[in-house]
């Protein structure tokens, strides 16, 4: 253990940082696009089904294949990896945002409108706060996926903890494999925990269970 850390310590830190960096950006992009899109979709009944259908289809493309597909378009390195992971992050967030928003009691939407809220005010002050727990569940799910799949990004030269694992596989060095896997798992767990805290903080007091 000490040996391993002595030998690979600094590498571990850099790779973990890369992993975090790739997933973080992908997830942030995912949230920025998918949450508003999900909200907008609730205003377009039929289009919504189509868009969510497309997102579901993208989700089923095997991750390695998706990464490989990125190469001819974006080349290799961090950018294509981030784009691929971003695509993966979309669906859970989009779907949950859509469902969460749709599930807001119509009485409350009616009440908001009836009191003279503009549609935007209704979304921001009523519908999103009510949908926060569901939206956050989607984000947490995406975060865990993205962090795990970011490992594969090393295949297209994006770096990250995948480098350690795949080196380990190639060189038959189990300690490298384990040394790469454990931080991935820890990262995923940590992200889930932190987002859980965030969820709690964002959820209106009276809706916390």
């Amino acid at each position: 253990m000490i040996d391993f850390l002595n030998q690979h310590g600094s590498e571990l830190v850099t790779k973990t940082w890369e992993q975090l960096y790739i997933s973080g950006i992908a997830l942030a992009l995912g949230i920025t696009i998918a949450v508003p899109l999900g909200v907008i979709l609730t205003r377009f009944g039929k289009t919504a089904k189509v868009v969510i259908g497309i997102a579901s289809m993208l989700q089923t493309v095997p991750s390695l294949a998706l990464l490989a597909l990125m190469i001819p378009i974006f080349g290799i390195g961090k950018i294509p990896a981030i784009i691929a992971l971003f695509i993966y992050s979309l669906l859970p967030i989009l779907r949950n945002t859509y469902i969460g928003m749709e599930d807001v009691d119509p009485i409350l939407k009616d009440s908001a409108k009836g009191m003279g809220m503009t549609p935007l005010q209704s979304v921001l002050k009523v519908e999103i706060p009510m949908a926060i727990p569901v939206i956050m569940a989607g984000i947490r799910l995406s975060a865990v996926y993205v962090i795990a799949w970011a490992t594969l990004a090393s295949y297209i030269g994006a770096g990250g903890l995948g480098d350690l694992i795949f080196n380990g596989l190639n060189l038959f060095q189990p300690d490298l494999i384990i040394g790469g896997t454990i931080p991935v798992t820890l990262l995923a767990l940590l992200a889930d925990y932190l987002l859980g805290r965030l969820e709690k903080w964002l959820t209106p007091v009276s809706l916390r269970s």
Binding site: A112, K113, G114, G116, T118, Q121, V126, P129, S206, L207
Partner: protein
Amino acid sequence: MPEKNPIVTFKDIEKVYRGGNVAIEHVNLTINQGDFVCFIGRSGSGKTTAMRMINRMLEPSGGVILYNGEDIHKTDAVKLRRQIGYVIQNIGLMPHMTIYENITLVPKLLKWPEEKRRKKAEELIKLVELPEDFLERYPSELSGGQQQRVGVIRALAADQDLILMDEPFGALDPITRESLQELVKHLQEKLGKTVVFVTHDMDEALKLATQIVVMDSGHVIQNATPSEILQHPANSFVEELIGEDRLMQARADVTTVSEIMLKNPVSITPGRSLVEAIRLMRKRRVDTLLVTDDDNYLKGYIDIETLDKSYRHATSVSDILNTKIFYVVDDTLLRDTVDRILKRGLKYVPVVDHAGKLRGIVTRAAIVDMVYDTIWGDSDAEEGAPGLENTENKDNPTKSDSASSSKEV
């Protein structure tokens, strides 16, 4: 009487929902400032639809709605809604906002400063007799009735003149319901608010409304004051809605004694013999006889008990005449006398004209047929029975209102 300024006018309004479902057809309606208008009708008759067109929650398919003289279609819907208080059918408090935030939602949209909002909320929460610390609670921490109260005051927070309420007291126990009814009535009467109120409870409508709009399958069947509705229901549908009991009560309000009296009372003159009297009783199967003189003036009565006790030493009707008799005057309103008649337990009461001539009798059965139910109703006990507790005191001439006379002859 506040002056009659129309606040809302429906001009030939029509509403057809998608799919061709006609919910409102050719409705013309004027709601005046300060009125309490109840929309009443069966489920699906279009009450909610009609109401929601006032604040543009729904757009009519045809016709024009004026709010303070302006075509609402040409105004900004959001602004309009902030001017009109609205209590939706299911209260709709925001569960994620405190009671304070709920109450001051519209003032906040209108950008009132925090102080002013706080003051308003405190004032309103007092109005509905809830403790001030409830302001910091969430709706889920309030009982259903308390939530309803908040729902009502929320519609007032921005000093709206017009308040729309869609069956606001639907699922409440009678006591809470009553106190809330009093509250809204107070708001309308004392603060001069105009209230449009949807209900399918006729009692509620009769109690609160200054104007009742009866709706059936998208049409206004009748639009009138409660008493007009009660006394002249437009058709059998309205009658049915009002219900048998209330119609009886309403009839008691306008019916005079002479309208329900029997016109051939059994009577006898004082000069007749007791033998004749007893024969007459037997023949007509009655146990008392009214006694009138030859000109048909009511003199008193004789009954079988006295007759039985004294036939040995008395010979004529005048010997056993009982002059202590309760009677009513023929043009008296039934509602003013009926409770007395019933209270005394009389089987019948003679009816005389103003001169004192016997005109007929009102039997207990006839009264019972008509108004029995309503006699014990609370509203009648207040206004229909002045001097109720005095009815045993026949000899006090000052006690009664002029409408009903009971005295000795």
